[in-house]
């Protein structure tokens, strides 16, 4: 039966990446049909995964694993249970339609191949994310979705708004990614498991751990940033800068659901505590209401949909927070319903945009006749969004109210919030599905026309699925809902989905209330929008602006730090360097017992004997004196010539020291070098109009002098301490003993240079040659180039300062 299960499951996550790499080439060869060709990949994945439904519904998760970093016991492991299968089926199924749609939507775009490649790469990352069992793999795929989202939002990179939105999304979601990595590492450390399935088996270990709170915060931060929960929601509306298929796929149906997926995944590990329930319910509820009201403010259809996506994400998080069996079932059904209707509506808006040239709700009307297929698609998705009977949206809403309708005060508050949120979503759903198509015909920038087959296929199929899945209630309940719910709660969940209307149940009346409220809001939409916009104008501050302030603050701070450290004043750099040089010399010497070694307490009495004048002969003392005289003359020299001659004096003294202590070769070389230096320096100096004297201010001279004395003292003390130790002369002994027998040379120093360390000498010669070439280049360049032109004002100023 072909490749093993392990390989084929892993191929599911890898195949889209391969297709992504090939996408530009496929586009080049197939042109307008690229979308259809590339859609084969997600369609095949969908069918492959569909085959697992029965097995997973039977309670047997599918596992696959290959070695990744065996030395750390990390495997690239995948797990297909009800939850990941539901997500993966949505990703590959909706993805197939989206790829077909993208082919038609960007027909003729020069970078369509690149776009399709990004889309497929994202799909691979997303599939990997939901199928991964290993936490590090989960993190890697999580970051890959952020990266592909960045590339897709910034697809139209010539526009600044798109670049800003892309960076914003990347910054916010990567912040969450880092939190996820930290959280995963902490969980691994606490449980010793890399696989989430393994962590799930540790039971209450995480919940009882003293580190439960930080781990919870990290995972919530990751989920909230990805799933645009208040107050990290602001990046999602900006992400609408991306082409419409991206908004439909990444920013409503799949990527933003990764946070919801993570929370669902972690429910058996971190969930069911007071903190978990309270945090998720509060943040989810606030996000739901905030998103609902934001949607009312917009007139751009995509922005309206984006805001309702935020609201829906809030609703999903709230349901996970509630955590009861019915709430979790509602979350699964609502995730499916939302993916169908929201992706369908987004694609429909794309068709509208394509066919009329505008997405402005107030500039569209009466398109029913000119765009009949789009209208049908819009209504199909719209009824699911409103939650009318016979749609999967209705099932989700009923299940939700079933899970929330309890009699205690906090439950009633949550229920009211959810009803209000659903009503707002319903109002927006009616507005998007009806407004552009009904009423008086409005002139549009482009003469209105229906989209091509590839364009309308996606929204139509998604709209039909929203109803078809609901009609197959029993299958949906048994094959999707029950396995997914069971995977989330780690205990069997039973589906009680039904399409029947029960007039005696409170659930029906709650639904009726939702619809009535939604209709009322819809009829007052324009008035409400004006009111909300006025309120916004009064506040005048948004999270979006806050992001800019934060980012620019960071850039300014980086600039200030750079200017502080990298100020460009050589003198200060050198002061710092030599201060640390002095510290590096003296601090270890003082702390590691250098003083005791140099002057042992036992030898204190005989102190004078060790430092007697007769250590050096008279002529040796004379050479030392010459060196000191040269150095002092150098420091106090009143003009250039004295300075140069003093330099020569100290150099000659060094040469004489070499001579006195048995190094004639060194002495000879040093003589040559010193004489040449003095000659060359004199030649050059006479051509420079330089300051005769050192014009350091007194306090600078004091500071520099102190540092210099400390450096000198440090070197002396360190060297003296070294000299008290024993020298290992083994290597020198070998050279002395073998110089004549092996190398046939009597001058041992020369033998070392040209024989034992010949390559070293070769390097030395190379350095000299390189210096010579560089000098030649500098002097040659002088003739042609002349002076480097300076801005006139600066040039004058510098001249003024020098003279």
């Amino acid at each position: 039966m072909g490749p093993s299960l392990d390989v084929s499951v892993i191929l599911v996550a890898i195949a889209p990446f391969l297709a992504a790499a090939l996408a530009p080439a496929v586009h080049r060869f197939t042109g307008a049909f690229a979308g259809w060709f590339l859609a084969i990949v997600p369609a095949a994945i969908f069918l492959f995964l569909f085959g697992f439904l029965d097995e997973v519904a039977g309670g047997e998760p599918v596992r696959a694993s290959i070695d990744w970093v065996p030395s750390y016991g990390i495997g690239l492991s995948f797990l297909i249970d009800g939850l990941s299968l539901t997500f993966a089926l949505m990703i590959s199924g909706v993805g197939t339609l989206i790829i077909v749609y993208s082919g038609a939507y960007l027909a003729g775009h020069p970078h369509q191949g690149r776009f399709l490649g990004f889309m497929l790469a994202f799909m691979g990352a997303m599939l990997g994310l939901v199928l991964a069992d290993n936490m590090l793999a989960l993190y890697a795929f999580w970051e890959l979705t952020s990266v592909s989202s960045f590339l897709l939002i910034g697809f139209d990179h010539a526009r600044q708004a798109a670049r800003r939105a892309a960076i914003q999304a990347l910054v916010v979601t990567n912040l969450g990614g880092l939190a996820l990595l930290l959280g995963a590492l902490m969980v691994q450390h606490l449980t010793g498991q890399w696989d989430l399935s393994g962590v799930r088996e540790t039971g209450d270990l995480m919940r009882l751990s003293p580190f439960y709170a930080p781990v919870l915060v990290l995972f919530l931060l990751a989920a909230f940033s990805k799933s645009a929960q208040f107050p990290l929601h602001f990046w999602l509306p900006n992400a609408m800068e991306a082409p419409t298929p991206v908004s439909a796929f990444l920013h409503s149906a799949t990527m933003v659901q990764a946070g919801v997926y993570l929370l669902a995944r972690m429910t058996p590990i971190l969930g069911e505590t007071q903190a978990w329930m309270a945090t998720l319910t509060v943040f989810g509820g606030v996000t739901l209401v905030w998103g609902g009201f934001s949607a009312l403010k917009q007139i751009d259809l995509k922005q309206m949909l984006a805001s309702t996506t935020i609201a829906s994400l809030g609703l999903l998080v709230l349901l996970i927070g509630q955590g009861s069996e019915a709430a979790i079932a509602a979350m699964v059904v609502y995730f499916v319903a939302h993916a169908f209707y929201k992706a369908g509506l987004f694609l429909m808006v794309g068709v509208l945009d394509h066919g009329t040239g505008t997405r402005d709700l107030t500039a569209l009307g009466g398109l029913m006749r000119k765009m009949p297929v789009s209208f049908v698609a819009a209504v199909l998705s719209g009824v699911s969004m409103v939650g009318l009977p016979l749609t999967v949206g209705y099932l989700a809403k009923e299940e939700m109210y079933l899970g929330l309708a309890h009699a205690d005060p906090s439950s009633i508050l949550v229920l009211l919030v959810v009803v209000a949120g659903n009503a707002l979503l319903a109002a927006v759903g009616i507005a998007i599905a009806m407004r552009p198509f009904t009423g008086a015909t409005v002139e549009t920038p482009v003469p209105a026309h229906e989209g091509s087959f590839g364009l309308v296929l996606g929204p139509l199929v998604l709209g039909l699925l929203g109803i078809g899945v609901a009609l197959a209630t029993a299958w949906f309940g048994h094959d999707i809902l029950e396995p997914a719910g069971t995977a989330i709660l780690a205990e069997p969940v039973e589906s009680h989905l039904t399409l029947a209307l029960d007039l005696g149940s409170i659930l029906f009346w709650l639904s009726l209330l939702t619809w009535a409220l939604g209709a009322a809001v819809y009829y007052q939409l324009d008035a409400l929008r004006a009111l909300l916009r006025r309120a916004d104008a009064v506040i005048g501050w948004t999270f979006d602006k806050g992001f800019d302030v934060l980012m620019f603050g960071l850039v300014r701070m980086a600039g200030a730090v750079t200017r502080f450290l990298h100020h460009g004043r050589l003198e200060v750099y050198l002061v710092v360097v030599f201060s640390f040089f002095a510290i590096a010399l003296l601090a270890p010497w003082l702390t590691l017992g250098g003083l005791e070694r140099l002057m042992p307490p036992s030898a204190l009495g005989t102190w004078a004997a060790q430092w007697s004048w007769s250590d050096l002969t008279v002529y040796e003392w004379a050479v030392v004196a010459i060196a000191i005289i040269g150095l002092v003359a150098l420091v106090i020299a009143q003009n250039r010539l004295v300075a140069i001659l003093s330099l020569g004096v100290q150099g000659i003294a060094v040469a004489m020291l070499f001579l006195l202590f048995g190094a004639p070769d060194l002495s000879f070389t040093q003589f040559m070098v010193e004489i040449l230096s003095v000659v060359v320096l004199t030649l050059v100096m006479t051509r420079l109009k330089l300051d005769e004297r050192d014009h350091r201010p007194f306090e600078d001279a004091l500071r520099d002098g102190t540092i210099a004395v400390l450096c000198g003292l440090g070197v002396t003390l360190l060297l003296s301490t070294i000299l008290t130790g024993r020298l290992d002369n083994e290597l020198s002994g070998v050279f002395l003993a073998t110089s004549v027998p092996i190398a046939h040379g009597h001058n041992v120093v020369n033998v070392i240079l040209v024989d034992y360390r010949g390559f070293d000498t070769l390097g030395e010669i190379s350095v000299v040659m390189a210096a010579g070439i560089a000098i030649l280049a500098l002097i040659r360049g002088q003739r042609g180039a002349g002076r480097i032109p300076l801005p006139p004002a600066r040039s004058e100023r510098i001249k003024g300062m020098v003279r």
């Binding site: 600044q160 800003r164 850039v555 980086a558 990298h566 050589l570 003198e571 050198l574 430092w611 250590d615 030392v624 060196a627 150095l631 100290q650 150099g651 060094v654 020291l657 006195l660 202590f661 048995g662 060194l666 070389t669 070098v673 040449l676 060359v680 050059v684 051509r687 420079l688 330089l690 050192d694 350091r696 520099d704 540092i707 210099a708 000198g712 070197v715 002396t716 060297l719 003296s720 070294i722 000299l723 020198s732 002395l736 003993a737 004549v740 009597h746 001058n747 041992v748 120093v749 360390r757 030395e764 350095v767 210096a771 010579g772 000098i775 500098l778 002076r787 480097i788 040039s795 020098v802």
Partner: protein
């Protein structure tokens, strides 16, 4: 006697560092030369000082006893030559800089890094 030479090396280092901290490029160059001499002496002295007996094996002999340590001498010889090459290169560089910028003072050499530095862009 080693300790006295160690003290002398300290004086070399002091003068070298003091000149290196100057703002005049030519003075820094003098500082590099003095500092280089200090380091050469440091290596030489670190191999212990031996009076007058050079490590040269007499004609007919296989080896020599009590000679100066040849290893530091070989190291220092290399260092002297490289130091000289660098000194001449820096001298020419300083000379050309003076010709081009009319400046010997490092504070005035701000062609590559203008005063105040460049500001990072505040946009996307």
């Amino acid at each position: 006697m080693d300790y006295i030479i160690a003290g002398l090396i300290g004086i070399f280092v002091t003068v070298g560092v003091y000149f290196l901290l100057s703002r005049s490029v030519i003075r820094m160059l003098l500082g590099i030369t003095v500092f280089g001499n200090a380091v050469n002496l440091l290596i030489f002295t670190g191999g212990r000082l031996t009076r007058q007996v050079a490590p040269i094996v007499p004609e007919g002999a296989e080896t020599i006893a009590g000679a100066a340590n040849p290893l530091p001498q070989a190291l220092v010889l290399t260092a002297i030559v490289i130091g000289f090459a660098m000194f001449i290169f820096l001298l020419v560089l300083a000379f050309r800089t003076y010709q081009s910028l009319d400046a010997d003072n490092t504070d005035n050499m701000r062609l590559a890094e203008p005063e105040g530095g460049c500001r990072p862009p505040l946009s996307y």
